[in-house]
């Protein structure tokens, strides 16, 4: 359902509600009746199928009214904490590892009863083993979020041009590739990945890569400034198509990026280049996206619908398909088995490619120096200020 349809339904429902209230003599919304449709504020990638959320709705057996959202933290905070998000939406998606804490601390989302989600039993063990992975879906010890995709951000490279498979971020600072390197124009993933490299290669002592102290942020940025001044970087990219175009056109030979950028760039470039996604021995930034139930959604009795949809997000059908279409890591076990059991959906060659993709992901996840994304690091101001200095250099 698109925005127009969403608004039309909202209008018609509102009109019907007002008419009904006038006839019955009471105000709708005060009763605790269960919601009939789930109003979602979701990222466009939280679905199977290129067009809309109809496949998701069909699998969940839930009517969905979806408004698409960006992944910007400020947008979610403004809408859900100080805006009218809780009036408008029952469920929303966002980054784990920070946003669930921010929204839960402001009471914009509610804790979940995961016993209502049968597929929670299949969730990746890391979410129940404590530590940072488990924290990305919890606040104050309670589960507030259901993960639907995750990944380890790494480096894409043109294998045909390089002639070897880089296994270290260090190749980005090799003088022979001066002017042919791009970084993501976002201080979160870029500084975290570079901190992984500097720590992993023993160049800078960093206690917690995911939550650096001001001196550590400074050291990472000074390192980048040094190479920026040498002309090592062609650009810092922003926006999916921008990232794809840089690699596909041969403007750069390597770039830190999301995995789908590498996949699409490789498709786009045909036989000219071979864009691959590497595994870096020093570590990567890990991140996930989660789906959450809003306070307003619970008030409107949307729990049951939310749990049905959350169950689909943790199904192997969703995991296998999101691995295939976007290249993101599934959040549940049993994906290979699902693909083997459904040869009509995943033919032999596709299965082979996806199984290799999944194995590569597992290899990236296994790197010791990885760090989970932290949307709101303790010294956020230092990150911002030093990023501005890097831009000005």
């Amino acid at each position: 359902m698109d925005q127009h349809e969403f608004n039309r339904r909202f209008f018609l429902k509102g009109l019907a509600g007002i008419t009904g209230a006038a006839m019955a003599g009471y105000v709708p919304g005060l009763s605790a009746a269960e919601a009939e449709e789930l109003r979602c504020w979701f990222s466009g990638i939280a679905k199977v199928g290129a067009k809309d959320f109809s496949a998701m709705a069909a699998h969940a057996g839930v009517e969905l009214a979806v408004t698409t959202k960006s992944a910007r933290a400020d947008e979610a905070i403004q809408k859900m904490v100080v805006g009218d998000g809780n009036k408008l939406f029952d469920a929303l998606t966002d980054n784990g590892g920070g946003m669930e804490d921010a929204l839960a601390s402001q009471k914009a989302i509610v804790p979940l009863d995961v016993s209502q989600i049968p597929n929670w039993n299949n969730i990746l063990p890391m979410y129940n083993e404590g530590g940072l992975s488990a924290d990305t879906v919890r606040y104050d010890g309670k589960i507030y979020a259901v993960p639907y995709i995750s990944n380890a951000d790494s480096m894409a490279y043109d294998y045909k041009a390089l002639g070897f498979h880089p296994d270290s971020w260090g190749v980005m600072f090799d003088s022979q590739f001066k002017g042919y390197v791009a970084l993501q124009n976002d201080f979160g993933p870029t500084l975290t990945n570079m901190a992984c490299y500097l720590k992993g290669s023993g160049q800078v002592e960093i206690e917690n890569v995911g939550d650096m102290k001001p001196d550590e942020v400074k050291a990472v940025c000074q390192f980048l400034i040094k190479y920026k001044k040498k002309g090592q970087f062609r650009t810092f990219w922003d926006g999916f198509q921008n990232g794809v175009s840089l690699l596909a056109s041969g403007e750069v030979l390597m770039s830190s990026c999301w995995e789908p950028v590498a996949l699409v760039a490789n498709k786009k470039t045909g036989d000219k280049r071979e864009i691959l996604y590497g595994t870096m021995k020093e570590g990567h930034q890990l991140w996930n996206n989660v789906v959450m139930l809003s306070k307003g959604g619970r008030k409107r009795g949307a729990d049951a619908l939310f749990y049905k949809l959350a169950n689909v997000y943790l199904s192997t059908w969703f995991g296998a398909n999101t691995l295939k279409s976007y290249g993101f890591a599934p959040q549940m076990t049993g994906v290979n088995e699902y693909m083997d059991a459904n040869p009509d959906e995943f033919d032999g060659n596709t299965r082979k490619v996806l199984q290799q993709r999944l194995a590569d992901k597992n290899a990236r996840y296994a790197v010791k120096g990885n760090a989970w994304q932290n949307v709101f690091p303790t010294h956020l101001r230092a990150y911002q200020d030093w990023w501005a200095r890097l831009q000005a250099a």
Binding site: R72, A73, D74, I77, V81, V82, A102, Q106, G179, L183, N185, K228, F233, R234, T235, F236, D238, G239, Q241, N242, S245, S249, G250, E251, F376, L380, R381, Y383, Q384, D385, W387, A388, R389, L390, Q391, A392, A393
Partner: protein, 313 residues
């Protein structure tokens, strides 16, 4: 059927129905004390609600205390201190310099086009020719700017052509992902502003002025420098302001054509918002507004901007 040209207050047609066309019925709207006179206050109300109040709120919020995810009432100049003591002020200054370059180059290219159209194209066709400059605006700016990448890139049209012609051996990389790339993008995006404003400004230069210059034997360059430019200066300044503001605030060009970490003032604000630092974003916005007001004030003092409307008057 006879048509009755009824006088005011008289029935329009015969019969028992008393249908009148009395102006009294509409006096509440069109009369001297009617609502009509308030219509003229609508633009003022629009300005108050959509310009003055947001502007005032921007300034007020810029001195609020930042909380973890929002802000709370208070008075602190911390956001301004952060701006001026961090590299943001430096980035802002660079952005102003790049914008000034975009204005200067747009003037050099765009104003002669306006003069040419005004002087050489038959009057009946002038507006149609000028309308041609609107055509690029029919295409999304994102598409227009992105389309420059395959032109300016290492393996782009310009480099391939120059290499094939044997003029260069290695691709020129300075025209993309550098401040030069940003200025090129700004000029190509905003050049029509200079052409329109220049064309309008040329309305103030009467045809006989050119004839007098010719009669006095002034060269084309001297006529342009000493006669046309001073007379059209307010319009040129207005066109320059449009370009400067767009170049300073629009994120698209530096994002797509800029080098590592390229930013302009608009992007600095955006980055503060993304980091949920609303007082800082408001402070930078306030500084941008102050810059614009100062610029307009200087422009008005030097060029008397009311002259822009003289051709219309």
């Amino acid at each position: 059927m006879a048509v009755s040209h009824a006088k005011h207050g008289q029935p329009l047609m015969g019969g028992s129905r008393n249908i009148t066309a009395s102006p009294d019925r509409w006096r509440w709207l069109t009369g001297e004390d009617g609502l009509q006179k308030w219509v003229f206050y609508i633009p003022a109300l629009f300005m108050v609600f959509f310009f003055i109040i947001p502007l005032a709120l921007t300034m007020v919020w810029s001195v609020f205390e930042r909380t973890r995810f929002w802000m709370e009432p208070g008075f602190t100049l911390f956001a301004y201190e952060t701006f001026f003591t961090s590299a943001r002020a430096e980035n802002y200054l660079f952005s102003m310099i790049h914008s000034a370059w975009a204005v200067a180059i747009s003037f050099v290219i765009g104003f002669p086009i306006a003069v040419f159209v005004r002087r050489r194209i038959p009057q009946i066709a002038q507006h149609r020719v000028i309308l041609l400059f609107i055509l690029p605006f029919m295409i999304s700016e994102l598409v227009r700017v992105f389309a420059l990448r395959p032109v300016l890139g290492r393996h782009g049209l310009i480099n391939n052509l120059l290499i094939q012609l044997g003029i260069i051996d290695e691709p020129i990389s300075v025209i993309l992902f550098t401040p030069v790339g940003v200025v090129i993008g700004d000029v190509l995006s905003f050049l029509p502003f200079m052409v329109f404003a220049g064309f309008l400004a040329m309305e103030a230069v009467q045809k006989y002025v050119f004839e007098v210059c010719d009669d006095l034997g002034a060269s084309a360059l001297r006529t342009f420098r000493d006669v046309i430019i001073p007379l059209a200066a307010p319009g040129i300044f207005a066109g320059g302001v449009f370009i400067f503001v767009n170049s300073l605030g629009g994120a698209l060009v530096p994002t797509i054509l800029g080098g590592p970490g390229a930013v302009n003032a608009g992007m600095i604000v955006n980055q503060a918002i993304v980091a949920v630092d609303f007082p800082l974003a408001m402070a930078i916005s306030t500084i941008m507004i102050a810059t614009m007001i100062l610029l307009l004030y200087i422009g008005h003092r030097v060029f008397d901007l009311t002259k822009i409307l003289e051709p219309i008057q």
